[in-house]
């Protein structure tokens, strides 16, 4: 057991080294970072216009008062929660191939949460009053408002998913055995917390009787099921890229295991959606209007129809690709499946979930919403920010995992054991 002061000192030294590491890289690394940076700057310029003129610069209205931003937010919370699918097999079942990559998964969750929080921030009309929402400083309406819950849940999860991987990486850097007694409670806590953030986000919509489309108790389980499809799918793709561009060794076995989990999750997702569709269509009450708008269109209003059917097709195809062992264990079909799921679930629980909640509105008005250029640009900017953060985190985390980046001084002085 080392004292807290030592820990702080070590961490500080680690950060200094890290900064140097982040600024050194290959041409491709630089090109990728500057490419993302360019998108971020464009996004910021568009956001600044929105900030100056107000949300009128978006296509949102009193009828459809949440749009692309909140759709992305919902999707990204799911992405972040999905890290739990790596944490459980790694730490609970000690499944070795996944245990080697779990830290990367946690950092992925942290990047997703940062994106999710950014999407909420750009959606706020008065960012200048953001401090009203801070716990203890502002007047947070806790526990009545689910949005207040979400602020706490998301920030807590962000803390856990930065704290745990950073702690482990610093230990690996100094070639010390992590103090499992200290860190394991945090890891265990992050499991229910992951389920928690997505449940709270589902309840955010679920608790509104004014919006029958969202007011279904099946919502939270549906959210979790679809999150456990899309999150791991993107993780599989990212891990293959990491394997290509770095020296890290990733077994195919780990990827196939994740893909198997996706197959189960996708089955649940489709099943729950089917249950919802049965209930709405068979009972056929006035509340079916939003479903009809989504799947068939209401009168001449049919913007979402091609999208949702595309999403449904993608999800079903991906389900079969992941269900059949031969297609699951071939990288080409595996990647196709991942791509289909990433896009399919984004449509289903992004725009396909947020917009029908507002159409028709509580007084029966039908107003169709399509995001405008500014909303797309700001969204791209935020996605680029997330990717950049993740890239920089990987730039440090991967060399530590492979052992290229470590504190050699410790070995010379003989302090600390070697793992």
């Amino acid at each position: 057991m080392e004292s807290l002061q030592d820990l702080m000192k070590e961490t500080w030294h680690f950060y200094k080294k890290t900064l140097i590491l982040v600024f050194k890289g290959s041409k491709i690394y630089y090109a990728w970072c500057f490419f993302l940076l360019a998108i971020i700057i464009v996004g910021f310029v568009f956001y600044w216009k929105q900030h100056e003129m107000g949300l009128i610069e978006t296509n949102m209205t009193d009828q459809v008062s949440w749009g692309l931003y909140i759709a992305n937010f919902t999707y990204l919370v799911g992405m972040a929660a999905a890290a739990v699918l790596l944490v459980i097999p790694a730490y609970i079942y000690q499944f070795k191939p996944i245990k080697e990559i779990v830290v990367l998964g946690e950092l992925f969750a942290a990047s997703s949460i940062i994106m999710a929080i950014l999407f909420v921030m750009v959606d706020l009309g008065r960012l200048d009053r953001f401090w009203h929402m801070l716990p203890l400083i502002g007047t947070m309406n806790f526990p009545a408002s689910l949005l207040a819950w979400d602020v706490l849940a998301l920030n807590g999860y962000l803390f856990l998913n930065i704290f745990i991987p950073v702690y482990l990486l610093v230990k690996f850097y100094y070639r010390k055995e992590p103090n499992w007694k200290f860190i394991l409670p945090f890891i265990l806590l992050s499991i229910p917390w992951a389920v928690g953030i997505h449940t709270v986000t589902a309840f955010l919509y679920n608790g509104l009787p004014a919006r029958p489309f969202w007011n279904a108790s099946i919502l939270a389980p549906r959210f979790l099921a679809s999150a456990f499809c899309s999150g791991p799918a993107i993780i599989i793709v990212i891990f293959q890229i990491i394997r290509k561009v770095s020296a890290i060794h990733l077994e195919d076995k780990a990827l196939f295991k994740i893909a198997e989990l996706i197959a189960y999750a996708m089955f649940l997702n489709l099943f729950l959606l089917g249950a919802e569709i049965f209930k709405e269509y068979y009972s056929n009450t006035v509340h079916i209007a939003s479903f009809k708008y989504l799947f068939e269109g209401l009168r001449e209003h049919t913007v979402l129809v091609p999208w949702i059917w595309a999403a449904m097709t993608m999800n079903v195809i991906a389900f079969f690709l992941f269900l059949i062992p031969t297609t699951r264990k071939r990288l080409s079909t595996l990647n196709l499946g991942c791509l289909l799921i990433i896009v399919g679930v984004w449509i289903e629980k992004g725009p396909g979930f947020i917009i029908p909640g507002f159409v028709p509105d509580p007084l029966g008005e039908i107003h169709e919403y399509v995001p405008n250029l500014l909303e797309y640009m700001v969204s791209f900017g935020i996605w680029a920010t997330g990717f950049l953060i993740f890239t920089l985190l990987m730039k440090v985390a991967i060399p530590i995992e492979t052992g290229e980046f470590s504190h050699t001084g410790y070995e010379k002085t003989g302090k600390g054991g070697i793992v």
């Binding site: 949300l55 949440w66 706020l124 008065r126 801070l134 009545a144 408002s145 004014a210 006035v286 509580p362």
Partner: protein, 363 residues
Amino acid sequence: MANAMATSIGIGKRGFTEREQDISLEPERECIFSALTVTTRMSRNLKRWYRNLLRSGRQTDGMKNKKYTRREFIRNLSVTALAGISLPLLSSCSKEEVEDFLQKHFLEMTEEEKKQVIAKLEQRYLKQYGQKFQIGTQEALPETLWSYGLELSRCIGCRRCVYACGQENNNSRYARQLHWIRVLRLKRGNLINLEDSEHYYAPETVPEKGFVYLPVQCQQCQNPPCVKVCPIHATWQEPDGIVVVDYNWCIGCRYCIAACPYKGRVFNWSEPNLPRDEVNPNVHYLGNRPRMKCAVEKCTFCIQRVRQGRYPACVEACPTGSRKFGNLLDPKSEIRYIIERKRVFRLKEDLNTESRFYYFFES
């Protein structure tokens, strides 16, 4: 009174207390530099906390005070830290902007602070609209619970209420005209399913054959879903039942718009467009004062009028006398007469919002 009010909406102990009021606050109008303002605010916060601490140590009323002080301490400390961090940023802003940034929640202001804010607003409105505004902060009258009656069989769908409301309440007029009342046109034979309603009907003359009209505005629910979901207490129910918004506290997340089953809330998507010569200078702080971009707003039963014993503007504007208004707690009021003798119903009663907006027909 204000304390009781704060408790009733759940802000609880954070409402100001008598003790806090005792401490004299020198107005810092003379401050030239905004940074200086922030610093004085910081030191004032600390001073207040310290005095409170000393007092609560001496006083014997125990736990309640101690708890309050501890909470206030954390709060003051954080606000001070916040101000400290943002000091370089704020010093580049004007003094007015800094004051706006640090302005407190309306229910947490002392009388003195309210006066300062009103004075600031009056100056701003004078500059912007060229008129001297009367900004009231009148509190709810005792023993009142405002309620509304609307006789559907009389409404002809002329929308005079809609425009009288906009004029009275200083709503944005052009390039997003904002309305707090919406009149729906429904085919005869249907009242509950609003999905076949027409919001933008525009015939030569009203009423049209075969249609009925259903005006909808904030229903001033007893269980308001909008108040429940607001993450920061920017909207609350006053003791007389009116749901109000502190326009300077709202962060513009629009969760309340999603939660309202009556579409009772609208949003200023851009800077409101209110021409100088169409301004109503008699305003209430929580009601019809001119508003800013990206904050939510709603019908307040004309809080500026009803607390002075007048009818809401829509009641006065209705040419057919369909609109009735009164105090639910007064057995002799018109609204009580209507509830007791007419067939009344409320919109979306199944959502249990306990709205205080009664629709009725000829008996």
